[in-house]
């Protein structure tokens, strides 16, 4: 069986290099046959897309999509420097 670290690294590489995602900041952890995705993305569509690309790169694993979608809040008061 392939070591979980190598599977996680391959998924992380796929997320960075796949034309559909190009996401560099996603944390990927593999525990047994479970794969966990953590980090922040811009919208729901990308959240789903990242899970799709991860699933393709790690067939047979159960994907836990724990990515959160960051809401862009309105700007706050300025910081005085």
């Amino acid at each position: 069986m392939e070591a979980p670290q190598y599977v996680a690294a391959r998924v992380q590489g796929a997320l960075a290099e796949d034309d559909r995602t190009h996401e560099l900041g996603i944390r990927v952890d593999v525990r047994g046959d479970q794969l966990f995705l953590r980090g922040q993305v811009g919208c729901l569509e990308r959240r789903a897309l990242i899970a799709d690309v991860a699933a393709e790169a790690a067939p047979g694993l159960t994907i836990h999509n724990e990515l959160s979608v960051v809401d862009v809040r309105e700007p706050e008061e300025e910081e005085k420097l």
Binding site: D19, H22, L24, G25, G39, Q40, G42, C43, E45, V70, D71, V72, R73, E74, P75, E76, E77, E78, E79, K80, L81
Partner: protein, 242 residues
């Protein structure tokens, strides 16, 4: 006079989200006098995404100055994307400077993409294989060009705009193993030598907003996921009432 600098990086616009960020820029002229964009404006650096960026940031009531990021280089079209932005009136820095007149204050902005290599004591050096030398040399050349641009800059206030980080303070939250890919102390060393009032960067999505150089220059990581708000606003003439 007040000098309010709005800044954001890593908006990572794609063709599917055109117009979504623009709504946050309504009324920006009431909050800030200039907008600085710290790179990674696109996801893959394609011309189609460049067009989305142009439409998102064109014709704002305040001047806009940008640098590109590593994502904007991915499709080998950085010069084309920069030209599209310039055609739309957005100033793009490539290891050089621009002076913008704001409320009677001459604001000088120096910068470019920057690059990696790591931080003092834990960094790559120009030794060994040509690939490592080329990596380190790329950062050194950039730092040298910033040093010259700062030395020659004639302005009342000086801001450095980068994509990669010049310090590790603002990387806190990122895995330490990847720091060498997030920035280089050579950039901070060059800036500290010539002096600046503020340094803005992006790239480290999981980093921290606030940091300092060794010489005490304020550094702000304005990557959108770090800010969590549409843009940060930094007032440089704080004592004179912003």
């Amino acid at each position: 006079m007040s000098l309010r600098i709005a800044a954001v990086g890593d908006v990572h616009l794609g063709v599917d989200v055109g117009g979504r960020y623009r709504s946050h820029l309504n009324g920006i002229e009431e909050k800030a006098d200039v907008l600085l964009l710290a790179g990674d404006l696109t996801r893959h650096g394609t011309l189609e995404e460049g067009e989305v960026v142009v439409n998102e940031f064109r014709d704002l009531p305040i001047p806009v100055v940008a640098v590109l990021g590593n994502h904007d280089h991915h499709s080998d079209k950085p010069a084309e994307i920069a030209a599209m932005l310039r055609d739309a009136g957005i100033m793009v820095l490539h290891d050089d400077s621009v002076v913008v007149e704001v409320n009677g204050t001459r604001l000088g902005v120096v910068g470019g993409k920057g690059f990696g290599g790591g931080f003092a004591g834990k960094c790559a050096s120009e030794f060994g294989e040509p690939e490592i030398k080329a990596f380190v040399n790329h950062t050194k050349r950039i730092a040298d060009r910033w040093r010259v641009a700062l030395k020659e800059l004639d302005a009342d206030k000086r801001v450095v705009l980068s994509h990669y980080s010049p310090v590790n303070d603002t990387l806190a939250g990122e895995p330490p193993e990847i720091y060498p890919f997030l920035g280089s102390y050579l950039l901070a060393e060059a800036i500290d030598a010539e002096g600046a009032d503020l340094i803005l960067h992006g790239h480290a999505h999981m980093g921290t907003e606030k940091g300092l150089t060794s010489a005490g220059i304020r550094v702000r990581n304005v990557a959108l996921p770090v800010l969590g708000r549409a843009y940060g606003v930094y007032c440089l003439n704080g004592d004179e009432g912003c």
